[in-house]
């Protein structure tokens, strides 16, 4: 019988090692280093501090003890008294956890992981199903991903054991997904609650804790709407349930990054109760139906003073079907009085079949092209003014409307559909 060959193994991240420098020896746990720091060796000392060395200064890394994975047992208790919900996990900060070995992040995907980080939610509901269609940051998603989420949600919503669905998601473009789901899920029978976190889950201060507890309350409520649930203010006291089409990320880092624009939240949700603030569609026993047609050849263009209108030729050449133009003020882009007026180009592009819609760059408020002659001139070219609809929602809706081939044939029909309130995206009474 052959003797096994003993191979001297190289220390791996997680192993206990000695790092020998010329004068000193450091003992600690070897860590993985970030991609851009390949020349560095990182060590966690017994005190918990991490320190680094330039690889070239190291004489030897001696293995003392191999990393032993500790098996942790977390029992997720199911309680027949509690209502059942389902979760769809799609990525983002809320589903990321720090991996000490790597120094980077891993995804939280199992019920055990979720329980470990967010046990607050399990006090309120049983999470009986967790679906993971994909794990992506929100900036990496597109219409197809939104459709995938909608399909997953449809299946869960039509399961009679499930009272509602929570979707965890990255924040940056979360309001696009919430808009898409608002149009894609027809005859919505139960709550669809999107939630997020702005502070990572490793922090004891993470906003995800309250957001998820409130999301659970929303998911078992009577509100059969697509809503975004998150911090109402910087305080950890309550969240708002915000309409999916009327919400926008308005801060890069605060907990209350999402605000309702041109409308009101459905409800104020505390960790133990819900206060209704406006009318909503009630849950019912019918089946939700997926209507996830979309046209990918749509664009969102922001106008700025002095901008050359020939930018529109790019979209024309690349066979775009529709453009949402973010205009200034009540709905203005430069006219014939400007050096680079847009009127002629707008007319030409629309004549060749491209649908142009107007949304407000101001974010808040309603468009009105009739107040100034510039507005009237632009309107006369055929631009569809989308009232108080958010530009991001407008993009998603235009895609959805143009995705319906029978509607897309006729500009008047497109205009009619764009201006018909389908999912709270239009509000004819602005109070603020």
């Amino acid at each position: 019988m052959k003797k096994p060959i003993i191979v001297k193994q190289r220390p791996q991240p997680g192993d206990l090692v000695e790092v020998h420098l010329i004068k000193v020896i450091y003992e600690g746990t070897l860590l993985e280093v970030p991609e851009d720091e390949r020349g560095v060796v990182l060590l966690k000392l017994d005190s918990g501090y991490n320190i680094g060395f330039n690889r070239k200064d190291i004489l030897e890394i001696k293995l003392l003890k191999r990393f032993e994975k500790k098996e942790e047992k977390y029992e997720v208790k199911k309680d027949d008294e509690k209502p059942n919900i389902a979760m769809i996990i799609t990525g983002g900060t809320i589903a990321a956890r720090l991996n000490p070995k790597k120094g980077g992040t891993d995804w939280l995907t199992s019920p055990e992981d979720l329980f470990k980080f967010y046990h607050g939610i399990f006090d309120k509901v049983n999470v009986i199903k967790i679906e993971i269609p994909f794990m992506k940051a929100s900036e990496d998603m597109d219409f197809r991903d939104w459709k995938k989420i909608a399909m997953t949600a449809e299946k869960l919503l039509n399961d009679s054991n499930i009272k509602g669905v929570i979707i965890t998601h990255g924040t940056d473009f979360l309001h696009y997904t919430s808009s898409a789901l608002s149009f894609f899920l027809k005859n919505l029978n139960k709550p669809v609650v999107l939630t997020y976190s702005q502070r990572s889950t490793d922090r004891a201060s993470s906003d995800a804790n309250l957001n998820l507890q409130c999301a659970a309350i929303a998911a078992i409520s009577d509100i059969a709407e697509v809503m975004l649930v998150g911090h109402a203010s910087t305080n950890d006291d309550y969240c708002y349930a915000m309409p999916g089409t009327k919400v926008r990320k308005l801060h890069s880092s605060r907990r209350d990054a999402f605000k309702v624009v041109n409308g009101k939240p459905f409800a104020k949700i505390f960790s133990d109760r819900i206060e209704i603030l406006r009318e909503y569609n009630r849950r019912h026993s019918g089946k939700v139906k997926l209507d996830a047609k979309f046209e990918e050849k749509v664009a969102l263009v922001k106008f700025y003073p002095g901008q050359d209108p020939s930018i529109l030729d790019y979209y024309l050449k690349n066979k775009y079907k529709g453009i949402v133009l973010e205009m200034g003020g009540l709905g203005h882009v430069s006219t014939m009085r400007a050096r680079k007026g847009w009127i002629k180009k707008l007319r030409d592009v629309q004549k060749k079949g491209v649908i142009i819609c107007a949304a407000a760059q101001t974010i808040y408020g309603r468009l009105d092209p009739l107040v100034y002659s510039n507005g009237r001139d632009i309107m006369k070219t055929g631009v569809i003014y989308l009232e108080d609809m958010l530009a991001e929602t407008a993009l998603v809706k235009l895609s959805w409307v143009l995705g319906h081939k029978d509607w897309a044939k006729n500009k008047e029909k497109i205009k009619e559909m764009m201006l018909t309130n389908m999912a709270n995206e239009l509000n004819d009474r602005l109070e603020e």
């Binding site: 005190s47 918990g48 991490n50 320190i51 330039n54 500790k70 922090r203 950890d236 880092s253």
Partner: protein
């Protein structure tokens, strides 16, 4: 005769102890651009938060963290116009304050420690609410230094730079709501931990004083609460205990003595446990929280590795602060007496002194101008000393001494000139104009006096003095006037 108490033989009971000294640095905050000022006024706003226990990087929930989170408390944070989003845990941290880092490097050098070339800012889980984020940022800067004391060399294990915590203001509604003020949160702290090589409470006090002196030579904050000491101690077969919250060094000896006795008792009963205890003003300690483990440290993921280059260390070395005793001997070599030396150090004016010495190399004159005259003038003119010193600032003193050097004013005039500048500026004038008058050529002064004598011949010396002083309205000193008049009047 009074009965002698039996002394504890610390060697025999195997006392092992180390100090942890925290000192605030005098810079802006460590990870944002807010000023490090403590506020006494009413807060501008209140933010309400909760913290929850989270699993550390190795997956286990830190025992200390669990303890606090189990209290399920609500935290109320008081904010001001000096508070920013970062301090509210609403924005990622900014880069580490470079000035604070430089001071930390200087202190490391003064403590003979080895500075790490690559460090990583860590998050230390703290869930008692004293940090809005639920952790304290801390970075290990140097290791393995030492201080020489009368009772031998004591090793410095680690030197860290970290954020100070928010100040607790009070508990509202009992245990459920804790109120913190955000003014102190994020002030840079240097944390110096000695090796557990201190063998007696007396030695602990000596080491604390010694390190305190080194710290005060650097740009650190002064006054109550700007330096805090913790003591780690254990006795043979007992567990390690951390005693926290000494504001006053004189308490260290007593509190250590008391804790040693408590430990002896616990060891006898086999009940010694590792924990953090808070020292009360009477020297007795009470349980604060369980001893935190290494599980509560993980990297600050919002920052890259902190690389400390040779250049940075050399820069820190370039103007390395000097210890008090070195400064004292230098000042003595200038011929300055002990009283003036200690006054200079006390009033933190050594740098000003040196600068003025560059103008006029006469320590007695410089000390008078800097330390004595402003106080005298302030008292005489009834202008508060801080206002006096603001007006008679270093630049003004340099200007005055330059005029002395050029012979435009005499040594005997100094106090008078300073007094005039003070009155003029305090009245809203500007001291340059004061100088313009004063700077009048002495020959033209002499000319004017000559003219006065010529116009009114035959008067007495005293009469001419009266006329001259009235006419010049204090623009020249009595001595000066007398000298000139003497030339022309017998």
């Amino acid at each position: 005769m009074s009965e002698q108490k039996p002394e504890v033989d610390y060697g025999k009971i195997g006392l092992k102890s180390g100090l942890e000294i925290h000192q605030q640095l005098d810079t802006k905050k460590l990870f944002c651009n807010c000023p490090s000022v403590l506020r006494k006024d009413e807060p501008d706003f209140i933010v309400k938060r909760k913290l929850h226990a989270v699993a550390g990087e190795s997956g286990e929930v830190d025992i200390a963290a669990k303890h606090e989170a189990s209290l399920d408390r609500e935290f109320s944070y008081e904010g001001y116009d000096t508070t920013c989003l970062f301090e509210l845990d609403e924005e990622p941290c900014h880069e580490i304050n470079q000035e604070a880092l430089k001071i930390a490097l200087q202190i490391s050098l003064l403590l003979n420690a080895k500075i790490l070339s690559i460090a990583q800012v860590m998050r230390k889980t703290v869930v008692d609410g004293s940090n809005t984020s639920g952790f304290q940022r801390t970075v290990l800067i140097a290791r393995d230094g030492f201080v020489e004391t009368q009772s031998g060399r004591v090793g410095i294990a680690t030197i860290c730079l970290e954020e100070d915590s928010a100040r607790i203001i009070g508990d509202k509604g009992g245990e459920k709501i804790a109120v913190y003020r955000l003014d102190r949160l994020g002030i840079p702290l240097i944390e110096i931990a000695t090796e557990p090589e201190i063998k007696t409470p007396e030695q602990a006090k000596e080491v604390a004083l010694h390190i305190g002196e080194i710290l005060r030579s650097a740009k650190v904050k002064r006054g109550l609460g700007t330096i805090r000491q913790d003591v780690n101690l254990s006795i043979k077969t007992g567990k390690r205990v951390e005693l926290k919250g000494f504001q006053d060094i004189s308490n260290i000896e007593r509190a250590m003595g008391t804790e040693v006795k408590r430990q002896q008792d616990l060891v006898r009963k086999g009940k010694s446990i590792s924990e953090v205890r808070k020292v009360l003003p009477n020297g007795v300690s009470e349980f604060l929280r369980p001893m935190p483990g290494a599980a509560r440290m993980y990297p600050e993921t919002d920052l890259p590795l902190l690389k400390i280059s040779r250049d940075m260390i050399n820069e820190a070395k370039k103007n390395l602060p000097r210890l008090k005793k070195d400064i004292e001997s230098e000042l003595a070599s200038h011929g300055l007496n002990k009283e003036m030396t200690s006054l200079l150090l006390k009033e933190n004016k050594v740098e000003d002194f040196k600068e003025l010495m560059k103008v006029v190399e006469n320590p007695q004159v410089v000390a008078k101008v800097l330390l004595i005259y402003p106080k005298e003038i302030s008292a005489r003119e009834k202008i508060p000393l801080n206002k006096t010193e603001k007006i008679l600032n270093k630049d003004v003193l340099v200007n005055v001494l330059e005029n002395l050097k050029k012979g435009k004013i005499s040594e005997g005039d100094l106090k008078h000139v300073l007094s005039r500048i003070l009155i003029e500026v305090a009245r809203g004038g500007d001291h340059d104009r004061t100088f313009e008058i004063k700077k009048e050529d002495s020959s033209s002064v002499e000319e004017k006096i000559m003219k006065i004598i010529k116009d009114k011949p035959g008067l007495s010396f005293n009469a001419y003095m009266g006329i001259v002083m009235k006419q010049f309205k204090g623009q020249i000193s009595g001595n000066e006037a007398a000298e000139i008049i003497k030339k022309y009047v017998k």
